[in-house]
């Protein structure tokens, strides 16, 4: 019997968490030991194996999928001994809609509408990585007009701000600073208002498209951005007063959900989780894309890898993003906002009225799409949650043969068992919140 048959026979295997008394010591040690990259003997010294499995009294409870602090439909199964969390397993898939399969049936022009709905808190980053992957396959990644590149940076940095402001809001709510929830949503709404002015929509923009962006910036955009920055700067100071220095806040977060750099790297965690461990890794600086190397900004790192560091990193990343946005304002060039490559760019509206060919071309590009040469490519950028990657395999047709999005939340969520291990159940909410998962991209 091959392994495939064995597995398929046990296809209905439970996804849930089994009590540790039903597992062997080796299985238990493997859970922990492999993450720490240590031998089974070393892992056994960390404890966690029941002395007498038959007498072991633990309780498994479900947290979610309808728990409000799980940010959507995340279900955590926790094995408890009293108030102590012994083990934990995230159970996901409640929001799975087969977006990767859908992506195989949409043309590259339509693909943006699909990927933008994955991480719905930072849609512009999803569109950006999808567009960059498509452009790389087309071989036009170096020919994107300057204004389009700077607009992409402007929008993705503003999106990072709105995403982190939402984190501050939900983090505050989860921990009990309910007023913070109102403030965070309020400030985020200001950023979304700007997005609405530029793209027409508050979320799910489909604005960054292969070849550039959908439209030019509207008149008066510069004043809007400046007004936004002037508004948010003092508000961040208020957050500092409200939370950062506040003893209750610090007590609630410091030393909670600790993860080491070694564990984070082994688990593939990226973004604020990796940076909270002291590893200065930011794709904008370390593997630059767009025009980030020309800008002055700092990579914020923590030192303890706890929930407080992750909070502080995100708060300060809003400040860094504002610094970047101010530099972008000074350097925004004029010119085209999309590539003048007839293959990927539809003709302008005015041309359709006067030219039959333009009309046909416009019709064909929106019905059939444009063909992308055969090949495969992986492009990654820094989203607010970590490395978001897009893997496209093309068969030379107008739709991707395979579209895969490496979702940072999907990977980051796997850190939770290690952050929660040995902590209290009351801290679980703080830990879930500090990972900042977006279930839309976890389940895709």
């Amino acid at each position: 019997m091959s392994i495939v048959d064995t597995i398929q026979a046990g296809d209905d295997a439970q996804q849930g968490l089994k009590p540790r008394s039903e597992l062997t010591a080796r299985e238990l040690m493997r859970e922990v030991g492999s993450v720490l990259r240590m031998s089974e003997a070393e892992a056994a010294q960390l404890g966690g194996v029941p002395v007498d499995p038959a007498e072991d009294q633990t309780m498994i409870i479900n947290m979610g999928p309808q728990h409000p602090s799980t940010h959507g439909v995340l279900r955590l199964m926790l094995e408890l001994r009293g108030e102590e969390v012994l083990r934990c397993k995230p159970v996901i898939g409640y929001l799975h809609t087969g977006m990767e399969k859908t992506g195989e049936n949409l043309t590259y022009m339509q693909g943006g509408t699909n990927v933008t709905r994955m991480d719905y808190v930072s849609p512009l980053n999803n569109e950006l990585v999808f567009s960059m992957a498509t452009e790389k396959l087309l071989g036009i990644d170096g020919d994107i007009p300057e204004r389009a590149v700077w607009m992409r940076m402007l929008l993705s940095e503003l999106n990072r701000m709105s995403s982190h402001l939402l984190f501050l809001a939900t983090n505050g709510m989860d921990i009990g600073a309910v007023s913070m929830m109102i403030y965070g949503w309020r400030e985020r709404e200001e950023v979304l208002r700007f997005f609405q002015k530029v793209t027409g929509l508050r979320m799910n923009h489909n604005f960054i498209r292969p070849g550039g962006v959908a439209a030019d910036l509207p008149a008066g955009w510069r004043d809007d951005v400046l007004q936004l920055l002037d508004l948010i700067t003092p508000r961040l100071e208020e957050y500092d007063t409200l939370m950062t220095g506040q003893p209750i806040w610090r007590e609630r977060l410091q030393g909670v959900g600790v993860i080491t750099a070694q564990e984070a790297i082994a688990l593939g965690a990226t973004g604020p989780i990796l940076r909270s461990t002291g590893t200065a890794w930011d794709l904008r600086r370390d593997m630059p894309y767009l025009h980030y190397p020309e800008l002055e900004f700092d990579v914020i790192v923590g030192s303890y890898g706890d929930a407080f560091d992750r909070y502080a990193i995100r708060l300060n990343e809003v400040r860094e993003s504002m610094k970047i946005v101010r530099q972008i304002l000074d350097r925004m060039p004029t010119g085209d906002y999309r590539i003048q490559d007839k293959k990927v760019t539809p003709p302008p509206r005015a041309r359709i009225d006067e030219s039959m060919e333009a009309l046909i071309h416009h019709f064909k590009i929106f019905t059939e799409g444009f063909k992308v040469p055969e090949g495969e490519v992986y492009v990654a950028i820094e989203s607010p949650r970590g490395e978001i990657g897009c893997y496209i395999a093309s068969d030379g047709s107008a739709t991707p043969y395979r579209l895969h999005v490496r979702a940072p939340s999907f990977v980051n969520i796997q850190c939770m068992p290690h952050m929660l291990r040995g902590g209290f159940i009351a801290d679980a909410v703080a830990v879930i919140s500090s990972v900042d998962p977006v279930l839309g991209e976890v389940d895709r």
Partner: protein, 176 residues
């Protein structure tokens, strides 16, 4: 966009021989380094790369090449139906490398990377769930996104996608 930095092959190979690394053919795709180990070499190559500093496995996914049997492959590699795609990242060298491993349809299984990169646990479950590729020595190989009793593997190319019945059909012949 500049993750194209080419990694030097093991040692200076004569120009006549195709470039290779750890005994596997090395190619380039859109300026990105791609390595093609066999199923047997797979774990060994990942271990060797881990020792070389590729300490993070950022992504593990698969592709079903059922409809593309005649795709371009480097010399010495025969394309199989399934392909495991692994993206490794070196934080210190700031380099990426991608592994493409061919997995035949009649024995859709491959070794798990769990003991080297525990972060692949969920990704391998996703590939198992979506493609039905079994990972040997995986600690918890169950469906992750689909329900436990789901039949079939949705991202396979021969998996039927559903259609929504509509009242007004454009199939004029059927109307009579």
């Amino acid at each position: 966009m500049s993750d194209a930095s080419a990694i030097a092959p093991d040692e200076a190979v004569p120009a006549s021989e195709p470039p290779s690394m750890h005994g596997s053919p090395l190619t380039e795709s859109c300026g990105q380094t791609v390595l093609h180990p066999t199923r047997e070499q797979y774990v060994g190559v990942v271990r060797a790369l881990l020792d070389e500093g590729y300490e993070m496995c950022v992504d593990l996914t698969a592709t079903d090449y059922l409809l593309m049997p005649e795709r371009a492959m480097p010399e010495g590699v025969a394309g199989a139906r399934f392909e495991i795609v692994v993206n490794l990242l070196s934080l210190s060298a700031r380099q990426r490398i991608r592994l493409r491993v061919q997995v035949p349809a009649d024995d859709a299984s491959i070794d798990s990377l769990f003991d080297l990169h525990p972060g692949t646990e969920a990704m391998e479950r996703e590939v198992f769930d979506m493609f039905g590729i079994a990972f040997t020595n995986h600690p918890d190989l169950t469906r992750i996104l689909m329900p436990e009793d789901w039949e079939g593997y949705p991202l396979r190319k021969d998996y039927e996608t559903g259609t929504i019945p509509v009242q007004f059909s454009t199939d004029f012949a059927a109307r009579t």
